[in-house]
C-alpha cells in the first residue's frame, strides 16, 4: 500500500501524577516551577501507534506537532529520539492563556499549513487538564472525521482504517475513512524506548528560539546538518486570526481557584495489634456501619 503521512499531536505537561508537597504555594496557587514537566503519557501512546504504522507501511512519515512555550522543544527532541521524522512546534507568547477552543484553532491552522496528511493521531487527553477536548475540536475545525479512545489499529488500507476503541464498559471496532483524527487511550501500548543511534543523531536538535542563544560551534553544526532544526512557527507563520487565539479566543475563563483542603478529622490512631483492630470492629458494629 501507499506510504502514509501521519501527524502526531503532543503536549508537554506538568507531571500531575507525582506532585510533591511543594507543588502548591502557601497561597493555594500551583507552583509550576516545582513540578517537573513530561511528555504527556497518552501522546506517547499516540506516537507509538504512529511508529507502529510506520514499521508496517514502509515510506510512512511521522511529524510531531506541539503547541507550547520554548521549553517544549524537550519533547520535540524526545520525539526525534523515538523515531519521528520531523518535529514542529507552534510557539508564541500570543498563544498563551488558550482554552481548548483557541488551542484547537491554533493546531488546526498549523495542520492546514502542513497541508498534506492522511492521519492525525493524538493522546486522548493531557494529564494537566484531563479535558479530552482538543482532539475532537481540531477534527471539527479541519472538517474531518474523528475516532476517539483508540487502543489499536487493526487494519489500514489506502483509504480506510479499522480502529479498536475503548468505551466506558466495552470495546467497539469501527471502520473510518481517511483522512481522520484518532485520539489514543492511555491503555494502548506504551511507547518504545529511544533509539541510541537516533539520540546521537538528534542530540543537538534545536528550535529557532534555542538557537538564538547557541554558541558558535552549534551554529556551525546546524548549518552543516539542516535536519537538526526543529521548526518553530509563530502567529504569522500559521496565519492565525488574533481574535481566535490565546485569551481573546478562549470563551471559558477561570473565575476562581480553590485549593482542595481536607477537612480536619478527629481520627483514632491504632496499632496493628489484634486487640486494637477488634475494638475498632466492635465500634463499627455498634454504630451499624457494618454488621
Amino acid at each position: 500500500m501507499n506510504p502514509l503521512k501521519i501527524i502526531v499531536l503532543a503536549k508537554q505537561v506538568p507531571d500531575t501524577r507525582n506532585l510533591g508537597s511543594d507543588a502548591m504555594k502557601p497561597d493555594g496557587t500551583v507552583n509550576r516551577a516545582k513540578i517537573p514537566t513530561i511528555f504527556n503519557p497518552d501522546d506517547l501512546s499516540a506516537l507509538e501507534m504512529a511508529l507502529h504504522i510506520k514499521d508496517r507501511v514502509p515510506g510512512t512519515s511521522v511529524t510531531v506537532l506541539t503547541m507550547g512555550p520554548p521549553k517544549a522543544a524537550d519533547i520535540m527532541r524526545d520525539s526525534l529520539y523515538l523515531g519521528a521524522d520531523k518535529a514542529i512546534m507552534i510557539s508564541d507568547r500570543r498563544f498563551g492563556g488558550a482554552d481548548t477552543l483557541a488551542t484547537s484553532y491554533t493546531i488546526a491552522q498549523a495542520i492546514k499549513k502542513i497541508k498534506d496528511y492522511d492521519l492525525i493521531l493524538g493522546g486522548r487527553q493531557a494529564i494537566d487538564g484531563d479535558t479530552a477536548q482538543v482532539g475532537p475540536q481540531t477534527a471539527e475545525k479541519l472538517h474531518i472525521n474523528q475516532v476517539t479512545y483508540a487502543i489499536e489499529i487493526s487494519e489500514i488500507t489506502d483509504d480506510k482504517i479499522v480502529v479498536k476503541r475503548k468505551l466506558d464498559k466495552g470495546i467497539e471496532i469501527v471502520e473510518a475513512l481517511m483522512p481522520c483524527l484518532i485520539t489514543v487511550h492511555g491503555s494502548a501500548p506504551e511507547c518504545r524506548m529511544p533509539v541510541a543511534k537516533r539520540v546521537m543523531k538528534y542530540k543537538y536538535a534545536r528550535s529557532k528560539t534555542e538557537m538564538t542563544k547557541a554558541e558558535d560551534w552549534l551554529q556551525e553544526l546546524h548549518k552543516e546538518r539542516p535536519y537538526l532544526k526543529i521548526e518553530e512557527w509563530n502567529v504569522e507563520d500559521i496565519e492565525a486570526e488574533k481574535e481566535k487565539i490565546g485569551l481573546a479566543g478562549s470563551p471559558t475563563k477561570v473565575k476562581s481557584i480553590e485549593n482542595v483542603v481536607f477537612t480536619a478529622n478527629e481520627s483514632k490512631v491504632l496499632s496493628d495489634s489484634e486487640a486494637d483492630i477488634e475494638n475498632m470492629i466492635k465500634e463499627l458494629i455498634d454504630h451499624h456501619t457494618i454488621g
Binding site: T16, R17, L19, A23, G28, V30, T100, L101, S104, D128, G129, D130, T131, A132, Q133, V134, P136, Q137, A139, E140, N145, Q146, T148, Y149, D168, K169, G170, I171, E172, I173, V174, E175, A176, L177, P251, T252, K253, K255, S256, I257, E258, V260, F262, T263, N265, E266, S267, K268, V269, L270, S271, D272, E274, I277, E278, M280, I281, L284, T289, I290
Partner: protein, 339 residues
Amino acid sequence: MKNVLVYCEAENQKVAEISQELLSAGKKLAEKLGVQLEAMVFSNKLDNIQTQISPYGVDKIYIADDKRLEPYTTLPHAELAIHIIKQQEPQIVLFGATATGRDLAPRIASALGCGLTADTTILDIGDHYVAKEKKEYKNLLYAIRPAFGGSIMANIINWDRFPQMATVREGVMKNEIFDSENKSQIEKIDVSKLLNDSHFVVKILERKIEKSNVNLKDAPIIVAGGYGVGSKENFKQLFDLAEVLGGEVGGSRAAVDAGFIEHERQIGQTGVTVRPKLYIAAGISGAVQHTAGMQNAAMIIAINTDKNAPINQIADYIITGDLNEVIPKMIKTYKKNTK
C-alpha cells in the same frame, strides 16, 4: 426563552443513568433561572422514551428516532444537536462526561464556537463582574471541576459566547424524580431532512459492551487498595474482606496502572466517584487524584505502613501497619463478633 438543554444518552430504549442525573441537576439550574428544562434524545425505537425523561420535570423533549442513530456515532449526533441548539438558542447545554459525551460535546462546541468545561462536579448559577468592561454579568453557569490532578477546584465561567456548555461526571449529581405525573411537550426531529450519507462514514463493525457486575457507585462498603498492596495476589485479601463485610473492591489509579486490579474498579478523579458509608483504604497514600473520588465517604479507615500518609488526614481510623497482617485480623475479629 433561553432554556436549559440536556443531551440524553439512550441505548436499547433505555435512558442512561448519567442522563437522568443531568436532568435532575438541569432542573435545579432551570428553576434558579426561572426557565424551562428541555431534553434531546437521539436513538432507535423511542416510542415511549418520554416516560423515562418527563418525570424529571422536563418541559420539552426533542426526539430523533432512526435506526442509524444507535449505536452512537459522532457526526450524525453532532449534526442533530447543532441543529437544535442553533434553532432553540438555549443558555446552558449539559452532557455526560462519558465516552459518548466527551466525544460529542467538544465537536459541537467547536462548530458553535462556544465554551465547554469538561468533567464538572459542581454546577451552580452566579454572577461575575468583568473589570475590563465595567459590567456585571448576571446568572452565569458556574462549572466547577477538579483540575491539576485534583489538587485544585476551578470555577469556569463563560460570559460572552453562548450557549454555556459542560460535561458532568457520572455519579456526582443525585438522580431525583421531580414529578412523576409531569408531561412534556414532544417535538420529533425529521432525521432524513437533516442527515445524509456523508454523516454516516464511520461504520461500527463490532461492539462488545460488558454487563459490568462491578457496582462501586451503590456499594455501601468499599475496600480499596493502592500501589502499596504490592501485587495482584495481595489484592485477594481485599476481596475476602469485601466479601465478609458485604462490600465491593476498588483501586487507586496507581494500582490500576500497575495491573493489580481492573480499570472498571478505579476510584478517583479519573475513575468513579463514590460516597459509601464505609471506605477502607489499604496501601493507598492518598494522592488528591484518589481522594477527590472518595472523600465524601461517611467513614474512612486508612491502613498504611507510612504513618504520615496524606490519606490519614481524612481518615476516621488510622491503622499503621502491614495490610497483609491487618486485613486477616479484621476478617477474623469481624467473624468473631458477628456470630
